[in-house]
């Protein structure tokens, strides 16, 4: 029973493909790919719509007001209204803009975002695009985002756009390093770049109740936090939304975009957010595994999406809580704290591994991390680093 | 104990030297510590001198020398040493005691000076050198200290370097004494050549002992005279006396210490020290060298006394009196009264220092005024100074009974009276005594008696730190006389080593009356001449000197120091100028011409060779160079600096290789 529900979607896909039985192999291949893509788009565009409205409502709650509550029940149809509005808006392209690039940029960015979704396992046997170097694929494709952002900023031939793009690229570069390096310990411990394997490695339970998720090891925990923060930056969310800070540069690289292109950017950002959170869940939170054996009757994809939405909630929560960080502070943080800690995670993971992954390893890796952390916190005395700002040019 | 102090004699000069070194290294602001150091050093020296004095008391004619080897060249070593005998011990006591007084005095006198620290450094340095002179047991060592003393006096005379007159005086003193020292040096060399040693006492082998003296023979006279020349220079005897009055440019304590009490006495001391050289082969106490000494001394004594009468500067008067007193000592040495001379030297050390310090106190009180014409009536303002000064004056002018000067002078007269060669010196000296009394009276009258004139208006008594040494010295000047009375000539006995016994009868002698008469005559005449001087009051300076009124020409002659300076200026100095100019000319035109000539020859040669180079060798080289350059241009044409061109070349080369390969395959 549980099995069937768990494998519901898989079986559905098989059923659909069985219609094409007897046609040449590549047809079936293409068909299955198309089905995957369709499913991805369907699920995540819905999630995007849902997210957009939920975010507004949650923010409203946190800021002690009602969010959108006019369109539909509890304003649930708000995204539809937004979509229509976006669609029927005039699409303005600046006269001096580089038309072609200006057009390609949003397309590329959205495409990239969606591509990254492809390698994440959403459930048992539910990985749309199984590839040996899945994690690498994720990052390789994700890296293209920077180029896209740059294209957007450059093509719209506007100082705000250019500056925004610059900022975005700068911060993406700086945080891509911790992002990737925090993944390395997991890859090392599992010994594979394949998301499925990584998920599988976190299947067991210690003493039958505590799941063997990497987040529960010292290195894993730290790596998870670092990864999450870097993901926050990668998806330009508060408190790291410097590239599109309304108060400073109108909307960063999206300034000259309007109508549906703008919507596309927006969507791309959210989807990127989903992707990063999904990867985080996969790498550290045991993917689609249930937190306890007894709960395994509940289907795996549910668990995955529960974790995903939990992370997304944290995103929203942070956005409601934290103010925007200054650029120089952000860079300092990336290079002077995040990066060393990420490397420390690698070492700690190695220690953990060579101490038979048991309690001893646990303690030892904890020690390593604690030592480095204290050393760092002494070295970069924040009171000095983030001294009150001197306005050199603004007297 | 005696042996002990002998081993540590070297400490006596060493302590002040060390003190001066330390003081020199002090910053300019540490006045207090500087003075403290200097005085402490002096006290230590005094203590040492006392300790050194004791053994000489125990045995009559005590003499101990402590010799050591300085360095050896070949097989003969150069040996220096220290000697301790009554002469040295007495000098030590006198120098260290007077020195101490003067040190203390100068604390007050130099209080406002900005170079206070440096002053005390020099002072200690001087005292070290002087003590060294006294205890040296080797003519060489003595000479070394002698020169150090000269250096110290140079530094101290020119202490107020900002005054050109001071600098000039310092130079004058240095050069004049150098002239004398040259004689000294020559004598020393000659002596060494003859006797092979410069040690005075070297248990029988010293140059002042029978063995050494035997080797000298006839040359002793010349050696003695040469050394005496040095003494003349230091002690400001007749031809070389000119520097001493000018030396008064220095601070008064310096004048007191160096140019009255100690250094100028060094000449006399030197003669006394090497007396055996002078008296070698004497026929009833007369040798040619001693005769020279006598005449020089007499001339100096009389001349200086005469000049002193006509001087207006309080210090200059004292300076000339010093000169004449030194002359007196020389005379007594010359006529064989060594003990008398030394006794006078010691006594003179005390009272002349006293007088100088008194004049210093006066100058200090009159805010730097030195012209006695402008003073007067100071007795009311500075009683202590007046009292002590009067004592000094009495002692100097030789009032008998309870002033040391009286007895010593009497002894000298005594000695001179019996000089077999001629009676002239004796009478001249009598005149000198009268003159001494005269000018001292004059000075007293002008300075202390009568009404106060311009400079004396705001006069004030000096601080205790200055008056105390005065009293001490005054007491010394008086108490010393106890040791000098003919009734109990202890000091005489101590110096000569003869046994002494008390005999009241000897107190009364003809000579006593003679000196009494002379001194009273001098003082009386003085009082009579200057009875009206300085009696008028008001801010006007004194009316012209009575003597000048009487004998203007003579007075001017005296006032201008007998034009001796001018004489030198027009003879010796002019000559040296001329010779300097001559040698300059020689240098410039004659020798230089020669050198230039050789240079020209070299140049000619150079021109020739360069011609050869230009014409002959270079041409070939140039040709080759041109060829090379052409080739280089050819090459560098390909070197366009364009990367793309290079890359294209590479590509073409690759293409060529490719085609070749393909064609082969």
């Amino acid at each position: 029973m549980g099995k069937s529900i768990d494998q519901l979607f898989v079986n559905a896909k098989q059923w659909l493909l069985s219609w094409l039985a007897g046609s040449p192999g590549w047809v079936i291949q293409v068909a299955s790919i198309l089905i995957n893509i369709f499913m991805l788009l369907a699920v995540f565009l819905t999630l995007f719509a849902l997210m957009s409205v939920l975010e507004r409502k949650i923010l409203a709650r946190m800021q002690n007001r009602y969010g959108p509550n006019r369109v539909g029940p509890f304003g649930l149809f708000q995204p539809i209204a937004d979509g229509i509005k976006m669609l029927i808006k005039e699409d303005i392209v600046p006269a001096r803009a580089d038309k072609l690039v200006h057009f390609i940029a949003p397309v590329l960015i959205a495409a990239v975002a969606i591509l990254t979704l492809g390698v994440i396992p959403y459930g048992r046997n539910m990985t749309p695009f199984t590839i040996d170097g899945g994690i690498l694929f994720f990052f390789a494709v994700g890296a293209t985002t920077e180029l896209a952002v740059f294209m957007a900023g450059w093509a719209s031939n506007n100082k705000f756009s250019m500056l925004g793009a610059m900022r975005a690229i700068a911060q993406m570069f700086s945080y891509e390093l911790p992002l990737i390096i925090t993944v390395l310990p997991v890859v090392m411990v599992v010994g594979s770049l394949m998301p499925d394997r990584i998920v599988a490695a976190q299947a067991e339970y210690t003493f039958g109740l505590v799941p063997r998720w990497f987040v529960f090891t010292p290195w894993g925990g730290v790596a998870f936090i670092l990864f999450f923060v870097s993901g926050l930056v990668e998806s330009n969310r508060t408190p790291f939304d410097v590239p599109e800070g309304e108060s400073e540069i109108v909307a960063g690289h999206m300034t000259e975009y309007s109508g549906f292109k703008y919507a596309t950017f927006f969507m791309a950002e959210y989807i990127g957010m989903f992707a990063v959170s999904g990867l985080a869940a996969t790498l550290f939170l045991g993917g689609w595994h249930a937190p306890a054996r007894v709960l395994e009757i509940i289907p795996s994809y549910v668990w995955f999406f529960v974790k995903l939405s939990a992370l997304l909630f944290v995103y929203i929560w942070l956005r409601a809580t934290l103010p925007r960080i200054r650029v120089d502070q952000m860079m300092n943080f990336a290079w002077k704290f995040m990066l060393p800690m990420a490397f420390t995670c690698i070492i700690a993971a190695a220690v953990w591994h060579y101490a038979e992954r048991g309690l001893r390893g646990w303690l030892w890796s904890l020690v390593v991390i604690a030592v480095v952390y204290t050393a760092l916190s002494i070295l970069l005395d924040t009171r000095r680093k983030f001294a009150p700002r001197v306005y050199r040019f603004a007297e | 104990m005696s042996a002990l102090i002998l081993d540590y004699l070297w400490l006596i000069p060493a302590v002040p030297f060390a003190a001066s070194l330390i003081i020199l290294s002090l910053p300019n602001a540490r006045r207090r510590s500087a003075a403290a150091l200097a005085v402490a050093g002096q006290v230590a020296v005094l203590a040492l001198s006392v300790v050194a004095f004791l053994p000489t008391l125990q045995t009559h004619g005590f003499r101990a020398a402590q010799n050591f080897t300085w360095f050896t060249f070949g097989d003969n070593a150069l040996r220096l040493g220290f000697v301790l005998d009554p002469l040295a011990a007495a000098m030590l006591l006198m120098i260290s005691l007077v020195g101490l007084c003067i040190f203390v005095f100068s604390i007050g006198y130099m209080a406002e000076d900005k170079n206070f620290v440096r002053f005390f450094a020099y002072l200690s340095f001087f005292s070290g050198a002087m003590l060294g002179v006294v205890i040296a047991n080797s003519l060489l060592l003595l000479f070394i200290f002698w020169e150090l003393v000269g250096l110290a006096s140079y530094l101290l005379i020119g202490f107020w370097i900002e005054r050109p007159s001071a600098a000039a005086a310092a130079k004058k003193a240095f050069i004049t004494t150098r002239i004398g020292d040259m004689g000294f040096f020559l004598g020393m060399l000659w002596l060494y050549d003859r006797s092979g040693t410069l040690l005075f006492y070297d248990d029988g082998k010293g140059c002042l002992e029978s063995a050494g003296l035997a080797m000298l023979g006839a040359s002793a006279t010349f050696i003695a005279l040469l050394i005496f020349f040095g003494a003349v220079g230091k002690s400001g005897q007749f031809p070389l006396h000119v520097w001493l009055p000018d030396a008064m440019e220095g601070p008064t304590p310096v004048s007191a210490l160096i140019h009255a009490a100690t250094m100028v006495a060094a000449g006399v001391f030197l003669v006394a020290r090497v007396y055996p050289l002078f008296s070698l082969g004497a026929i009833n106490g007369v040798t040619s060298s001693l005769t020279v000494v006598v005449w020089i001394g007499v001339t100096t004594a009389l001349m200086a006394a005469l000049i002193a009468i006509a001087q207006a500067d309080i210090k200059r008067i004292l300076a000339y009196s010093t000169v004449s007193q030194l002359g007196l000592m020389m005379v007594s040495l010359g006529v064989g009264g060594v003990a008398a001379g030394i006794m006078h030297l010691l006594a003179h050390g005390f009272f002349k220092a006293l007088l100088f310090l008194g004049s210093g106190s006066v100058i200090h009180g009159c805010h730097g005024e030195q012209d006695i014409q402008k003073m007067g009536g100071l007795r009311r303002f500075m009683p202590v100074t007046f009292a002590t000064y009067a004592i000094g004056m009495m002692a100097l002018s030789g009032v008998p009974f309870l002033f040391s000067g009286g007895w010593t002078k009497e002894e000298i007269l005594h000695a001179t009276a019996h000089w077999p060669m001629s009676p002239v010196p004796y009478y001249l000296i009598l005149a000198g005594v009268v003159l001494t009394a005269l000018y001292m009276t004059r000075q007293i009258i002008y300075v202390f008696l009568g009404n106060s004139r311009t400079a004396a208006e705001h006069a004030h008594e000096s601080p205790r730190v200055m008056t105390m040494p005065l009293t001490v010295l005054a007491l010394g000047a008086i108490l010393l006389s106890v040791l000098l009375t003919p009734a109990w000539p202890w000091l005489h006995g101590y110096l000569t080593g003869e046994p002494v016994h008390f005999e009241i009868g000897r107190l009364i002698q003809p000579m006593l009356f003679v000196s009494l008469v002379l001194v009273s005559a001098g003082i009386g005449v003085g009082l009579w001449i200057y009875r009206k001087a300085g009696m008028q009051d008001g801010d006007r300076p004194a009316e012209i000197d009575p003597l000048e009124y009487a004998q203007p020409a003579l007075f001017r002659f005296l006032a201008n120091k007998m034009w001796i300076d001018e004489l030198y200026a027009h003879t010796i100095i002019a000559f040296s100028w001329m010779s300097a100019r001559l040698s300059n000319w020689m240098d410039r035109y004659f020798w230089d011409g020669l050198v230039r000539g050789f240079g020209a020859i070299g140049q000619l040669f150079g021109i020739f060779t360069s011609g050869v180079d230009e014409r002959g060798i270079n041409a070939g080289v140039d040709e080759t160079t041109v060829g090379a350059r052409g080739l280089g241009r050819l090459m560098s044409a390909a070197h366009s600096g364009q990367i793309q061109t290079y890359l294209g070349m590479v590509a073409i080369g690759m293409l060529a290789l490719l085609l070749l390969y393909a064609w082969l395959a």
Partner: protein, 104 residues
């Protein structure tokens, strides 16, 4: 019907020529860099292709070579671009025709 090695090598040759074209004919320094990168890419393609078509050794030599060459060309790109910027700072131009200080 699958492409032969010849096809791959031909493509890489064409790629190489295009790189050479960029490097030789464009005057902007960055074009030269792009050209060089393209030529390196062609080389990489050759490595992989020959590895794929050759009888398999124990270790994937061609792939290794490709990986290393990629890393090195990345370094080369970084330094090259830095040099372009430095040159631009000095001469205020990136036109390689004007950069002929080394002219003999």
């Amino acid at each position: 019907m699958t492409p032969t090695l010849q096809a791959f090598v031909a493509v890489s040759g064409a790629l190489f020529s295009i790189g050479l074209l960029a490097a030789l004919s464009r005057r902007h320094a960055i074009f030269i860099l792009i050209g060089i990168e393209l030529m390196l890419a062609a080389a990489n393609l050759n490595f992989i292709a020959f590895w794929r078509f050759a009888p398999q050794p124990h270790q994937p030599t061609g792939v290794m070579l490709a990986i290393f060459s990629i890393a090195i060309s990345a370094a080369e790109a970084a330094v090259g671009l830095a040099m372009v910027i430095a040159v631009y700072r000095h001469y205020h131009t990136t036109n390689v025709d004007q950069l002929d200080q080394l002219k003999g």
